[in-house]
Structures are given as C-alpha cells and as structure tokens.
C-alpha cells in the first residue's frame, strides 16, 4: 500500500518508492525508507494531503503520495 491509502491519523513505515525522480526530493526532505509517517491533514477538496515525517509536516499531492510505498502500522 502507499501513503495515499491512509486515513487521517493513520501511521505507516516507508518501505520504498515507485518513482525515482520524485523520491529524490522526498529523500532530501527526510522521508526515508524505515521512517515512520503519519497522515495528518487532507485538504478540503481531498487533495493535496500533509504527512508528518521526521519531525516536519510536508504537503504533497495524492499522485506524489501514491508513489511512496508503506507498511501500515496500528
């Protein structure tokens, strides 16, 4: 599953990326494999979304979010 599948408040561990180019930007910002992420906000129109990762809140579009593979944790 990927980040776009999460609901607000749900957490996951990043396992990998399906888009190399985008992954570089996310890696720079500290969104690394093994890092825990939380889906914190969804914009009123359902897109973009915001995640909390490595102590910062990062907003990204659903399309970008769906390139980040995760393992859901409860």
């Amino acid at each position: 599953m990927n980040i776009a599948d999460l609901k607000i408040g749900q957490k996951g561990i990043v396992t990998g990326f399906s888009d190399e180019e985008l992954s570089l930007r996310l890696l720079d910002m500290g969104c690394l494999p093994g890092e825990e992420i939380t889906l914190s906000c969804i914009a009123p129109l359902g897109d973009p979304i915001a995640i909390d990762v490595a102590g910062s809140r990062v907003s990204l579009r659903k399309k970008e979010a769906s390139t980040v593979m995760i393992e859901k944790i409860s």
Binding site: G30, C41, A43, P44, P48
Partner: protein
C-alpha cells in the same frame, strides 16, 4: 581570500533563519517570514561588527540539499561551483534548525564535502522543549565543526558567532562521508584521475549536475560526458544512495547526541490543532475567504479616517501657499503642481500600511503555506501550482516581488504562467486610483452589513484574480512542457508574529512607497504642470480676451472656469490629450483623462497626481477644495454629464485593473524569463484586454 575580503555564505534549509541572522550581522533589513522560500535571490552585505578584517556576508535562498530543484535553490549551487564569482564563499555559516536537526545536517554534510569550510549556527533551540538534552559539544566534535547556538529572533549568540567568523582560518575540511561508500571504484578512479586537483566530491557534482555546475569549460564537459558514458553513470540511483548513506551516518551520530526523537512532537501538536481548523473541509475555505474579505474592508473603512485628514491638510496647505506667496509662476507651480501631486500620494499611506500589515501577518504566522495547501487543487485546474498563490497574494502589494517569488515554483511552465498573470493582481499602486474613482462614482451606502464602496473595491480585486485564472487557463492550453508538475512543500509550524518585524515592514514599505512613487510623481507633476501651463501657440496668452468676448452669461465663476479650460485645451498637454481622445472616447474618457493615461504608462500611481495637477492648473487654488471635490465638479462639455459618472468611472477602474502600466514589472519579467518575448506578450495581451474590457463596461453601462 581575494582582495582580503572574507566571503561568508549563509546557507541552510528553507525557513531555518538565515535571513534573520543576515540582518543581525549586517544591520540590513531583508525580508524574513515563516514559510519556505522567502528569500529567492542572493544578497550580500558587509559585517561592520567585525573590526579586525573585512567581512562580506552573503545570504542565499534556502535549499534542502546540494541538488537544487527550483530556480531559487539553484542560486547557491551556481555560486559555490564558480570560483570566479564575487560571491564564491571562503567559508559557510550553515544555519541549522535545531527542531529539524537531521534534515538540516544533510546539507551541512554536503557543503563540507564540497570542500567549503563550514561552521554551524544553530537556531530554533528556543522552541525545543528538551534543549538541555542536546549535547552540542559532542555533536560539534562528531561533526568536526564548531556549533554556535543563536537565536534569530532576539539576537542571542551573535557575539559568539561573530567571534567564530573572526577566528576563521582557511583550511580544507575533511570530507564527511567518503565517496567510496556510494560511488563504485571504477567511476571514482576515472573521475579523480581526470581532475586530480579537484576535490573528489566536486568532480562527482560535475557529473551529477553538469548543466548547473558553473565553473567548468566546454572541454571539461566533454571529458565528464565521456566518463559518464564509459562507467554507465546512473545519476538518480547514485543520488538516492548518497542521501540514504548520509542520513544513516547522521542517524548514528544523532543517536549519541540525544536520547530520543520525541522533541518536536510537542511543537507539531500545537500546529496540528490549528491545522485541523485551518484545513477543515468547510472552515478552511471559509477562513481563507474571510481573511481576505476582512483585509479589504479594513483597507477601505479603517483607512478612511486618516485619509480624509491628510487630504484636508494638503488642501489647506495649497490654499495657504497660494495666498501667501506672491502671485506668479512659482506660486502656481507649488500650489497647483507640487502640492497636489505630493498630497495625491501621501494620502494613500494609511491604506498601504494596512495592506502590508496584513501580508506581513500572513507571512509571519505561517498561514501563507496553508494557503498553498488549500488552493493547490483549484490552482491545478488552471495550469498553476498551489505555490502560485504566494506570488498572487503578495502581488496585492507589488508585482515586482511577486514575479520574483515565482522562482520557488519548480516547474518552468507553472512558474512562467504565474509570472505572466501576476500583474493582473491589483497592486498597491492601483489602490489610489480605485479609491478616488470609487469615492467619485459609487454612493457611500450600505447593503445590509457591507459598505457598497468596500464591495466595489473588493470586486476589482476579484476581477483581477478571476482574469488571472482565466488567462492562466488559456496559457495552460497553449504552452507545452514536458516537465511534470508536482507539489512537495513543507508546512512550517505556526509562530507568533514578531510585532517589531511587522512594524518595521509597514514602516519600510510605506516609506518606499512615498519616496519612490513620490519621486516619479514629483517629477511628472512638474513636467505636467509645465506642459499644461504653456502651449505652442499664442492662445494661452490671449485666452482671457478670447473667452470673455465669446461669453454670453454674467456668472463670473463660470467665466473663469471657461478661461481655465480654454488655456488647458491649448497647452502642450491639451494637444497630447486631444490627440488620443478619438481612441479613448469609446471608453468614456475625455482628453484630460487621456493626459493622465499617457503619464500612467510609466507607472500607474502617477494617475491621481496627474489628475490633481491637470484639474488644478488654472483654477484658483485659494478656493479649490480637495482633489476629490475638484474631480467631482468636472462636466464633460460634449455630453453635459459629469466626467466621472458611473459608466466612465467603472470603465476607468477596469482599465487600470488590467492594463500593464509599469515599466519596472516588465523589466523584472525580462530578467526572470531571460528574454524580451514574455514581457512583450504580457504588455500586448494586458493592454488589449484592458481596452476591450473597459469598452464593454462603458458601452453597457452608459
């Protein structure tokens, strides 16, 4: 250390506090704000607090890593790879946000590997709930670099930072992460063999970012391309591996320095609560629109009290000068040319101040980034990016910083469209035009809760915004781009605004407005006064006798007015206005407005001053009232209607809302797009659109 000046680069992640420190070190006053991407260009200034040596500090736009993704992030890379540049740093002060330690240290590690001696200035320690748990001494030792705790808000730690810069001695730092850990041997040996004198990581950067790396010649590029080909260089894969390895090493270090990663959660919690409301499906937009709405009402109603006062003072001053000075050219130049011209600008200070106060607050609190988040989905439809909202909102102040702020948008097409439509957002220079025209033609009534004049003002801003979106959509369909658009942006935690900073912004902006606009207006009102007072023929000298002869009535005042307008008609300005009258007549303007339109093509804020000058030349300043009253009594001799009626007033406001009447904006667009093509496209489409829209408005309303 060329010319014995020590060049110090301030570099770090976006929003880490670089510009705050820059201001503290140099005593300058660069813009600070709580969102990533406030600074979009380099800025240098001397540090006078250091006496023992000459030090030049250079502030850079923030970047997350040595791999820039947008035009503003690229600025640092092109400087640090070009030893010929004036801004090539001898040392770097890496500004590290303690609340996002690991991410901030990534860039630090890359700068070190570039062979730039670096020290760390650590900000945001005050927002860390557990700052005592951070063992800075140990961290400094592990990173092999001094760490100076500072506070960008209140200046704590600045002496220590200055002392550390003063102590600096040139050295080549040890690399942080050995390149062998992510580059395979074959590539490594080829690269170092080809450029034995260069730092290995620099050679690697030449390969990674061949196009952006500034200090390499064409032959070097050939060599690099060859190596890349022979060793099947996989740029993205290498970059990813490099970043992951760096973070791994940093993780190891940080684990020893602080026990937990819990720290910032506290911080995020407060932001979380606020974000829940501000990005709520319903309340989110409600608040967003509400803030904007409140801003316009404030500009309109709060500002009117000091404005009326200023207007009266200038009116009285003109009368007093006119009565006190001996009659003659000087008297009329001052009381009819200069005083109304200057008064026409000072009067708008209250509105400008309120406008800038609101924008400063949006930027200081961190709301601006939420506006990006809220609007991205909508902006996308129009070929823009959520990040376009920042230029569009700050365009309400002025299009020039707005066009520059678009640098923060990674995608070239989205950035270009944002630049092209930014001038449609009504800037503060249009506010005076709107204000005076609204006062003239819109009744001061209330519809329920809202003031009608305030609503019209808001309507003009909405018009600009809607047109901006419409044009963006058209451009989106026309311009092709292979680049894929995306939005990845940090939402900074909310912060209380620094009131001193807000106050300073208001003061600075009002001052700039008065002086820079004042200068142009001052000059133009003198030129205009001359043009309006003298003419090519002898009609002006004989005006009195000609008009008196033809005049049938016995009203002395009417006669004087007729003489005055006869004089103006036969002045240079009069002929100019008459020349363009046929073109603007369908829009409902007379030749006097034509004169003001001509002068506004250099800068639109000249309009009010020009009108004031044109309509006061020849009239008796002793009993003329304020600019507004003067305009209100103007009658169009052809139609018999007031010159400023509902139809012509609205048409004129719409013209000013759309037309491209600002040379400085065109110049900036040329610089940002690196060609004359785009500013010319802009000039053509905006002027055409302004004309057609004003025409439609007038013809339907009349």
């Amino acid at each position: 250390m060329r010319e014995n000046i020590l060049k110090v680069a301030l570099i770090g992640n976006p929003n880490a506090g670089k510009t705050s420190i820059f201001n503290l070190l140099t005593g300058l006053n660069q813009k600070v704000g709580n969102f990533p991407g406030v600074t979009v260009d380099k800025k240098s200034g001397p540090c006078n607090k250091i006496k023992s040596r000459k030090v030049q500090i250079v502030d850079f736009p923030g970047t997350y890593s040595i791999y820039p993704r947008s035009a503003d992030e690229r600025v640092f890379f092109t400087e640090v790879t070009n030893p010929e540049s004036d801004n090539f740093p001898d040392m770097a002060v890496v500004v590290v946000d303690a609340a996002h330690l690991k991410r901030n240290l990534l860039l630090f590690s890359q700068i070190k590997d570039m062979g730039v001696p670096a020290i760390i200035a650590m900000t945001m320690l005050d927002v860390l709930p557990e700052k005592d748990q951070l063992d800075l001494e140990l961290l400094a030792q592990k990173l092999d670099s001094p760490i100076i705790p500072v506070n960008g808000r209140n200046g704590e730690g600045m002496e220590e930072l200055i002392a550390e810069i003063e102590r600096f001695e040139y050295h080549i730092p040890e690399p942080f992460l050995p390149m062998e850990s992510y580059v395979h041997d074959d590539l490594f040996y080829r690269a170092t063999a080809a450029f034995p004198d260069e730092h290995p990581y620099r050679v690697y950067q030449m390969m990674q970012q061949t196009d952006t790396y500034a200090g390499i010649g064409p032959e070097d590029i050939d060599i690099i391309d060859e190596i890349k080909e022979n060793s099947s260089f996989k740029s993205h894969q290498l970059q990813a591996q490099e970043t992951i390895n760096r973070y791994r090493l940093l993780d190891d270090i940080l684990r020893e320095v602080k026990p937990h990663n819990k720290k910032i959660e506290e911080n995020l919690r407060v932001s979380s609560q606020l974000d829940k409301i501000l990005t709520h499906p319903l309340w989110g937009y409600f608040i967003f629109i509400g803030i904007l709405f409140f801003m316009f009402q404030a500009i309109y109603s709060w500002a009117s009290i000091p404005m009326d006062f200023i207007d009266e003072q200038f009116g009285a001053l003109g009368e007093w000068i006119s009565a006190t000075l001996p009659d003659g050219a000087l008297n009329s130049l001052i009381s009819e040319g200069i005083i109304p011209g200057i008064g026409g600008i000072v009067i708008f200070v209250p509105q400008i101040a309120i406008l800038f106060a609101f924008i400063a607050l949006l930027e200081e609190t961190g709301y601006m980034a939420r506006a990006v988040f809220l609007t991205d989905r909508i902006m996308r439809v129009f070929g823009l990016n959520g990040k376009s909202i920042v230029p569009l909102i700050s365009g309400v102040a002025c299009a020039i910083p707005a066009v520059m702020a678009a640098r923060n948008i990674e995608n070239w097409k989205e950035r270009l469209i944002t630049i092209l439509v930014a001038p449609l957002i009504s800037c503060s220079a249009r506010l005076p035009v709107y204000t005076i025209l609204i006062a003239l033609v819109i009744p001061d009534e209330s519809i329920g809760f809202f003031n009608l004049q305030g609503l019209v003002l808001m309507g003009l801003y909405v018009l600009g915004f809607v047109l901006a979106l419409g044009i963006a959509l058209i451009m989106h369909k026309i311009i092709n781009s292979p680049q894929r658009p995306f939005l990845i942006m940090e939402l900074p935690s909310f912060r209380m605004p620094r009131w001193k900073n807000v106050g300073l912004t208001i003061y600075e902006k009002s001052k700039t407005f008065v002086f820079s606009a004042g200068k142009i207006i001052f000059i133009i009102s003198i030129v205009l006064w001359v043009l309006a007072s003298y003419g090519p023929g002898s009609e002006i000298a004989q005006a009195e006798s000609i008009v008196t002869e033809q005049y049938q009535g016995d009203n002395q005042e009417e006669l004087e007015n007729l003489i005055a307008s006869y004089k103006l008609e036969h002045s240079f300005a009069g002929y100019l206005g008459k020349a363009i009258e046929p073109v603007i007549e369908p829009l409902g303007y007379d030749w006097k407005i034509g004169i003001a339109l001509i002068t506004s093509f250099a800068a639109r804020e000249v309009f009010v001053g020009s009108m004031a000058t044109i309509y006061s030349v020849g009239t008796d300043a002793e009993n003329t009232k304020t600019v507004k009253d003067r305009l209100a009594t103007e009658i169009n001799p052809k139609t018999g209607l007031p010159v400023f009626n509902l139809a012509s007033g609205i048409s004129l406001m719409i013209f000013y809302a759309i037309a491209m009447q600002c040379m400085s904006t065109l110049a900036i667009v040329k610089r940002e797009t690196k060609s004359w093509k785009w500013p010319m496209v802009q000039l053509a489409y905006l002027t055409g659109l302004a004309y057609v829209s004003a025409l439609i408005a007038y013809q339907t309303l009349i």
